[in-house]
């Protein structure tokens, strides 16, 4: 049922396309800064990822934040060195940046002090070309990508869509065998993004570019389904490939086609149920045989990870589900709230963690407590939140217990930070603590003095004054 665009120009019966890029058991560990306590393993970003990209592939890497998809892309590109494992290009192990590859960035990554032409020419500096050859190729790339007339403009004079066109021209001018795209459309408005996606696809399908394979990192499920031939869904903590799915034949990639909606829904379900066994999820869906080996589910991280969300957003989510009858499709929720899946997921996580709602088969269902929470007024809401937070979140319990024991009811953050650093990278540990502080403050469990980094049990006088 696959109908791949075959770069070799032959039809589907041909022998399998040659493997261009291969990752073998690639792992990445956060660079441990400072001393790690003995016996504690530094946190993993990627855990033994195996991946093959063949000639003619258009692969999408899809995953929630924290699944290491950008890290994987950078390791494949040779920008980052894997902690273990290796990356092979045409069977040869790679060291350093791969010269046969170009990247398009989410932020466009244009040099503001260079004109469009100079930015595009920059990609060609590494090639042995005369000045006229370089100029000719750069102008040709600018022409292909529809930037004619803007050669002498500076990036700041262009709109977002035009800037990303420059990004594409700079990547394509080197005629890369591999084109990597790191969320290239997510900084653009909806219409511009759709337009640019369409143009890129037609260049790719009509083989107007010499590129043999494309890797797209995205958090947009529709984008992955409508563009890529293979979709790799990554899981977090640590990053690994949960499942590899074959996308639809190109003529079926249309939101009006039922198969399309089903695939999007399936991926949504996979991504919103990080703990559920992948076989179960696939069985629930229309029987679509997954391609490639399945990775067994990873053991859940033993340490509680808090999603970094504001409680007011969780409240909003719960109330929205409540108004639609205690149960709502997650995909629909994402649409209603105009949230991408990786923005919605942390909210769902938080609701689940606090036992206010349960994700079930792609739906979010309110618990009894969740219903009471939705009906409550502001003060009651806080009351319920405080109860749930204390009952369900170890770190908050821990801090409150310490505060009650301390004579001055004052505790420094340092101990908790050190504890978190045993399980998270330095930045993530800090972020975890900040979420703990935010939630604890909201629940009025303690106050926190930022300058001194201490927790206090009683509310400061100024708060009462206000």
């Amino acid at each position: 049922m696959t109908q791949r665009v075959d770069r070799s120009g032959q039809d589907g019966t041909a022998p399998p396309a040659p493997v261009l890029l291969e990752a073998r058991r690639v792992s990445k560990v956060y660079a441990a800064q400072g001393k790690q306590p003995r016996g504690v393993r530094p946190p993993l970003v990627l855990d033994e990822v195996d991946l093959q990209i063949a000639s003619g592939d258009f692969v999408a890497l899809l995953g929630p934040s924290g699944s290491g998809k950008s890290t994987l892309l950078r390791i494949l590109a040779g920008l980052l060195r894997p902690t273990s494992g290796q990356v092979l290009f045409r069977g040869v192990a790679q060291h350093g940046p791969n010269p046969h590859l170009a990247i398009v960035f989410q932020s466009f990554a244009l040099f503001p002090w260079l004109t469009v032409l100079q930015n595009v020419e920059l990609g060609l500096q590494a090639q042995e070309l005369t000045r006229t050859q370089r100029l000719r190729r750069a102008l040709a790339a600018i022409d292909t990508i529809g930037l004619d007339g803007f050669e002498d403009a500076y990036p700041k004079e262009l709109s977002g869509g035009m800037r990303q066109r420059v990004g594409f021209a700079r990547a394509l001018v080197v005629e890369p065998e591999l084109l990597f795209m790191d969320e290239p459309f997510s900084a653009l408005d909806v219409l511009t993004a759709a337009n640019l996606r369409k143009e890129l696809l037609s260049l790719w399908r009509q083989q107007k570019m010499p590129t043999r394979a494309i890797v797209l990192v995205t958090h947009n499920i529709d984008e992955a389904v409508s563009m890529a031939d293979r979709i790799l869904v990554l899981g977090a903590d640590p990053g690994h490939i949960r499942v590899e799915l074959e996308s639809l034949p190109s003529q079926q990639r249309d939101p009006r086609v039922e198969a399309y909606t089903r695939l999007v829904d399936l991926i949504y379900r996979i991504m919103t149920s990080p703990q559920t066994d992948i076989e179960t999820l696939l069985a629930q869906a229309h029987p679509r045989p997954p391609k490639g080996p399945l990775t067994p589910p990873k053991p859940a991280r033993p340490y509680q990870t808090l999603p970094h969300v504001a409680i007011s957003d969780v409240t909003g989510l719960i109330e929205l589900v409540y108004t639609s009858g205690d149960r709502e499709d997650l995909y629909q929720l994402g649409r209603d709230l105009q949230l991408e899946v990786d923005e919605l997921l942390p909210l769902v996580d938080a609701a689940d963690l606090l036992n206010l709602a349960d994700p079930q088969e792609g739906d979010l269902v309110l618990t009894e407590i969740g219903k009471r929470f939705a009906e409550a007024d502001v003060l009651e809401e806080k009351q319920i939140f405080r109860q749930q937070a204390l009952a369900r979140i170890g770190m908050l319990r821990h801090i409150v217990a310490d505060l009650e024991q301390d004579e001055g009811h004052t505790v420094s953050e340092d101990g908790y930070l050190a504890q978190l650093q045993e399980h998270f990278s330095e930045d993530e540990a800090r972020a975890q603590l900040e979420t703990v502080i935010d939630w604890g403050r909201y629940a009025e469990l303690f106050s926190y003095v930022e300058e001194r980094g201490i927790f206090r049990l009683e509310a400061p006088e100024t708060q009462e004054e206000a």
Partner: protein, 609 residues
């Protein structure tokens, strides 16, 4: 030593940097390029300027290679002023070029080599706190000894002294920018495999350009401040005098020739204003494209001079015929010299490749060992000098340091007392800030040292004599940094916050406490930090003054340094070293204990946006 608070938020930064020099112009200047070019008045002006520059160079060169004339008689006739101004300008220019080269090399290494960084940053911090005149004896004696038969040594000494007042803040600025390059641009440079030199020129230098230009302007102001000190070097019984504006002013003051003094002063001010108009404004306007943020601001700095140069047919011709081919040739050469990154054979392939790094490591060890030996030797030498300083002298120096510290404090307090209300008033009024900020910039770069002789006559007569007058002299040199920063801070207060305070009827002291003081706090701290450093440095020229042929001095560390350097028959090196060390220690400690902490507090609590 001088700096302006640069906020992290690009929008605030843009508003700030655009503020002083902005005349909004809807049409981007780039469009004007396409006008047909004819030779015209501008080209004549460019031609004449080039001619003048060449004449100056020839004149200076003939003076430099001439036999050593340690004591040029300084003429006081107005006719010599253009030549003297030219000499001074040339020295400043050379010192600035030296600073620039030093900045790029030192900053690049410190930003890219982590191990080197750990040594280089503290060194820079210490160098920054050593007053220029403490370098004087060693630099002068060494360079004059190196060129005993021509003026080159003496001229170089002067240039190096100016360099020591210019380089450090530029280096810090470049280092910080090179350390915080946008991650995506770094990745692009890696993926496109830019050679190191191209990466340096396409990424590092442009990304740091704006900060570098601002610091360059500050550095020039610092250089002018020590103009007189760097053209008239008194070392024990030997005294050297170089023809230049600084020595002209000094000679006029010594002769009590008020007319010549005022004329010299006018020339200096004219020079500074011209430089601002012909050099810095065009540079700032040109550098606008180096802003990292990608929004097209409505307020683009604009310079008629730059537009004229861009329109000039002569400049275009020279660029096309000389600079472009030169650029290309250089690029080809550098391309050949530096291999493409990643094109080296992978280490697994060849065992000899594995030996090369070890050889390199060996060379590194040898270099490090040599450096260590040098440092140890220097330390031993220093210790030998320091043990010659009797304990009683250390006591005197400590008292002197305290006296100077009190003076700097007084100067800062007076500075804040008058600049705060005025600066806030100017900054909060868009009309006045637009008009006055460029004026303040120019006024701030007029060296207070040039005014000293005029003021001294009046000041020494005051009760307290030089001891009190020194405070005012320090103030003259440093208050501008505070004023400049306060204006910038007041301009950066968001208008919604101002409207909110008006709506809630906060006025008078409450408005100051809730809005203005917190709003300008980071700027005020930066201004005070700069002013404090400047005041310590200025103590040398304000606590020990040569005037009308005799010396007036007061108790203070600056006076100790100046008098040790001028001691007869030879400089008193042990005391000079001890006093310099003491001053460096004081300045570094103050920075660490007071200013850095206040700065951190400002960044954490009082940053807007």
């Amino acid at each position: 030593m001088a700096q302006v608070y640069v906020p992290d938020d690009p929008r605030v930064r843009e508003q700030l940097e655009g503020g002083g020099t902005t005349i909004s112009r809807a049409e981007p200047p780039r469009r004007r390029l396409h006008r047909p070019r004819h030779f015209g008045v501008i080209d004549l002006a460019v031609f004449l300027a080039v001619l003048a520059a060449i004449t100056l160079l020839v004149l200076a060169a003939s003076r430099w290679v001439a036999p050593l004339t340690p004591n040029v008689a300084i003429a006081l006739s107005p006719a010599v002023l253009p030549a003297y101004a030219g000499y001074s300008l040339l020295r400043m220019l050379l010192a600035y070029l030296l600073s620039l080269v030093f900045t790029l090399i030192y900053g690049h290494i410190a930003a890219t080599h982590r191990r080197a960084e750990r040594v280089m940053l503290p060194i820079l911090d210490i160098l920054q706190s050593i007053p220029i005149l403490s370098f004087l004896p060693a630099v002068t004696l060494a360079l004059v000894a190196a060129f005993p038969h021509s003026n080159i040594g003496l001229e170089l000494a002067s240039v190096v002294l100016i360099f020591t007042s210019q380089a450090w803040n530029m280096t810090f600025s470049f280092y910080h920018a090179a350390k915080t390059l946008p991650a995506d641009l770094q990745e692009v440079s890696t993926v496109t495999r830019l050679r190191p030199w191209r990466r340096f020129l396409v990424l590092e230098v442009p990304a740091s350009m704006i900060g570098l230009i601002w610091n360059s302007m500050m550095s020039w102001a610092g250089g002018w401040f020590f103009l007189m000190a760097s053209e008239q070097l008194t070392l024990g019984s030997r005294s050297f005098q170089l023809p230049g504006l600084g020595s002209y002013l000094q000679a006029a003051a010594n002769a009590g020739n008020t007319g010549a003094l005022l004329l010299g002063l006018a020339t200096l001010i004219a020079l500074i204003v011209l430089l601002d108009l012909l050099f810095w404004r065009p540079l700032v306007a040109w550098a606008d494209k180096f802003k990292v943020e990608q929004s097209s601001g409505a307020d683009v700095p604009h310079s008629p001079v730059l537009d004229a140069l861009r329109r000039s047919a002569l400049v275009a011709l020279i660029t096309r015929r000389v600079f472009r081919p030169l650029e290309r040739g250089l690029a080809r050469l550098l391309d050949r010299l530096q291999p493409l990154p990643g094109s080296a054979p992978p280490p697994a392939q060849a065992p000899p490749a594995a030996r090369v790094p070890s050889l390199r490591r060996l060379a590194g060890w040898v270099l490090a060992g040599g450096l260590c030996a040098l440092v140890l030797l220097g330390l031993a030498f220093m210790l030998r000098l320091l043990v010659q300083v009797p304990v009683s002298t250390w006591g005197t120096l400590l008292v002197a340091a305290l006296a100077t510290w009190l003076r700097t404090l007084a100067a800062l307090l007076i500075g804040v007392a008058w600049t705060l209300p005025l600066g806030v008033a100017i900054g909060l009024s868009p009309k006045w800030s637009r008009r006055l900020q460029p004026v303040v910039q120019v006024v701030a770069s007029i060296p207070a040292t040039a005014l000293f002789p005029v003021l001294l006559l009046a000041l020494v007569a005051l009760p307290g004599g030089l001891s009190g007058a020194a405070i005012l002299l320090m103030l003259l040199g440093t208050q501008w940094y505070i004023l400049f920063n306060v204006i910038a801070g007041a301009m950066a207060i968001p208008s919604d916050l101002r409207e909110a305070t008006t709506v809630y009827h906060a006025s008078g002291w409450r408005k100051w406490r809730t809005l203005i003081l917190p709003g300008i706090f980071p700027y005020l701290v930066t201004g005070l930090l700069t002013a404090s450093g400047g005041a310590w440095n200025a103590s040398i020229v304000s606590e020990y003054v040569q005037f009308n042929g005799h010396v007036t001095s007061t108790v203070g560390l600056g006076a100790s340094i100046a008098s040790a350097a001028a001691a007869t028959p030879a400089p008193n090196f042990p005391v000079l070293l001890a006093a310099t060390l003491l001053m460096a220690v004081f300045v570094v400690l103050l920075n660490r204990l007071v200013w850095k902490r206040l700065y951190a507090l400002a960044e954490r609590r009082f940053t807007l946006a």
